[in-house]
């Protein structure tokens, strides 16, 4: 039987390639999720019923159904309607749209938890609705929603493993391939497990903590 160090020497580069793809998928999906969350979250708070309804429907659909089914829809079904996405694009789009729906509720909740006095002060200073939101409410909502966003981004990272099912060569895909040729399941999936954990624990978590600290400092101290 092959030693683990020999296994790593042999297959390490492929794990690294896969991890790189996973990282890129995560970053692109996160950007998409943040944009969608912001737009849908604000639409949910609109005084106008149409945007509110559109956002609610979107959130219901993407939170209420499985990410895997959404991924298959985007990759296999949309082409039937003339929209063909490359598998790499389909991958991060599906993950981003799904997690964006969860994020929209975070955005909405955080905006609503900014004290009412802040809105009233901004009205009393005659700021427009857009100015109130952009300059007064959102900067404060941001601080409130950062911790739950940290959780969501870790969910998102783990969610990207599903893109291996449409043959995007991510970390999970490589692990499965290596397992298929070597039958060293413990080593193959064990390594993937460790890499996912390390990305969450040593990249996303510290980055969010740092961001949180910085924003909190800006909010409360000179």
């Amino acid at each position: 039987m092959m030693s683990y160090s020999a296994f790593l020497t042999e297959y390490g580069p492929r794990f690294l390639d896969g991890a790189t793809v996973t990282a890129i998928q995560t970053v692109l999906a996160a950007i998409l999720a943040i944009v969608i969350a912001l737009v849908a979250g604000l639409m949910r708070l609109s005084a106008n019923v149409v945007p509110r309804w559109v956002a609610t429907t979107y959130i219901e659909i993407f939170r209420g159904t499985s990410l895997l089914v959404q991924l298959y829809w985007i990759f296999f079904v949309l082409p039937l309607f003339g929209i063909t996405l490359e598998k790499f694009t389909a991958g991060f789009v599906a993950v981003g749209m799904n997690l964006g729906a969860y994020g929209a509720e975070l955005v909405r909740g955080a905006i609503l938890s900014v004290p009412r006095g802040q809105w009233e002060a901004a009205i009393a200073l005659n700021m427009t609705g857009a100015q109130r939101m952009r300059r007064i409410i959102l900067p404060q909502a941001m601080v409130i929603m950062l911790p739950p966003w940290g959780n969501l981004l870790i969910e998102l990272l783990k969610g990207t493993a599903l893109v291996s099912l449409i043959a995007v060569a991510d970390l999970m895909f490589e692990a499965k391939q290596i397992n298929g040729t070597t039958f060293l399941s413990a080593q193959a999936f064990g390594t993937a497990l460790i890499i996912y954990y390390a990305m969450a624990r040593f990249v996303i978590t510290p980055a969010m903590r740092g961001l949180e600290r910085r924003m909190r400092r800006r909010l409360s101290r000179a």
Binding site: E120, Q131, S220, R221
Partner: protein, 273 residues
């Protein structure tokens, strides 16, 4: 409200002497609860009117309606002769649209019980925010104006502090400077000392005293501090149950109140405090 009802309200006030603020037959309801019942109240230019009364008497609602933080259910509010809550359309008054409200709201500034400073901005940035982004003043001009006002309220050494680093009295003084930076014609003070520790109340009342002495601002103040109201007001309105029960110069209201409810309220308050 039907169109016929509106015909008794003038499109604009054109007497010889137009009050800075006029509440005309203003009613405010929350569901079945009538908070203000057909309120008529004029405030003249440069006048300092204090509103007192038990909690739930509708006194804070008066200020909030004038600041357009609350809609009204009947009547019309005029500011400087022009309708605030309504606008003219085809020769009659219709409820004001957003644009009209924004234009009229520029005349009014307000300070709140809980200061409501923007926590992510320094004292100076709090003051500069609206002059720069709402009035479109050049930054340097807004800065000069804000620093001058922060100096007026005695906080020239705190301009770069965030609100969390300031005491309640200091925060309220920044809030006053912030409101004044918009150069309103009417200033509203809503229980601005109620959330303060007793020892810093004087910092804030001194600033208001200074405004009364040195500026021709029209002011409406809701307060529980009877001593301050007595000293500073041109007129005191005692609110009870959504109506003005009694009003007059402070010497009369505090010295020889005519109505029984006024007497009861004042004796209860003065005993307590």
């Amino acid at each position: 409200m039907t169109d016929q009802d509106m015909s008794k309200y003038p499109l604009r006030l054109a007497d010889d002497k137009v009050p800075m603020v006029r509440f005309m037959n203003v009613t405010k309801r929350y569901g079945d609860l009538v908070v203000l019942d057909s309120l008529d109240l004029d405030v003249d230019e440069g006048e300092m009117v204090t509103v007192i009364g038990p909690s739930g008497s509708g006194k804070t609602t008066v200020l909030r309606m004038l600041m357009t933080l609350e809609t009204i259910n009947g009547g019309v509010i005029y500011v400087d002769g022009e309708p605030l809550t309504h606008m003219e359309k085809g020769g009659r008054l219709v409820p004001a649209d957003r644009r009209h409200i924004r234009r009229m709201r520029a005349n009014i500034g307000m300070c709140f019980q809980h200061f409501n400073l923007f926590p992510h901005m320094t004292a100076l940035e709090n003051c500069m925010e609206a002059p720069v982004h709402v009035l479109g003043l050049p930054k340097a001009e807004a800065r000069d104006r804000s620093i001058e006002l922060l100096g007026m309220v005695g906080l020239e050494d705190k301009v770069d502090q965030h609100p969390a680093r300031l005491s309640g009295g200091q925060q309220q003084r920044v809030a006053i400077a912030r409101a004044l930076a918009m150069r309103p014609k009417v200033m509203l003070f809503d229980e601005v000392t109620s959330a303060l520790d007793p020892e810093v109340i004087g910092e804030v009342t001194n600033v208001i005293r200074k405004l009364v002495d040195q500026h021709n601002l029209t002011m409406l103040m809701v307060t529980h501090q009877m001593g301050f109201a007595k000293e500073i007001s041109d007129r005191v309105c005692f609110f009870y149950d959504g109506k003005i029960e009694e009003q007059g110069p402070p010497s009369e209201i505090f010295g020889s109140p005519q109505k029984e409810r006024t007497q009861q309220f004042l004796s209860a308050v003065l005993e307590a405090g």
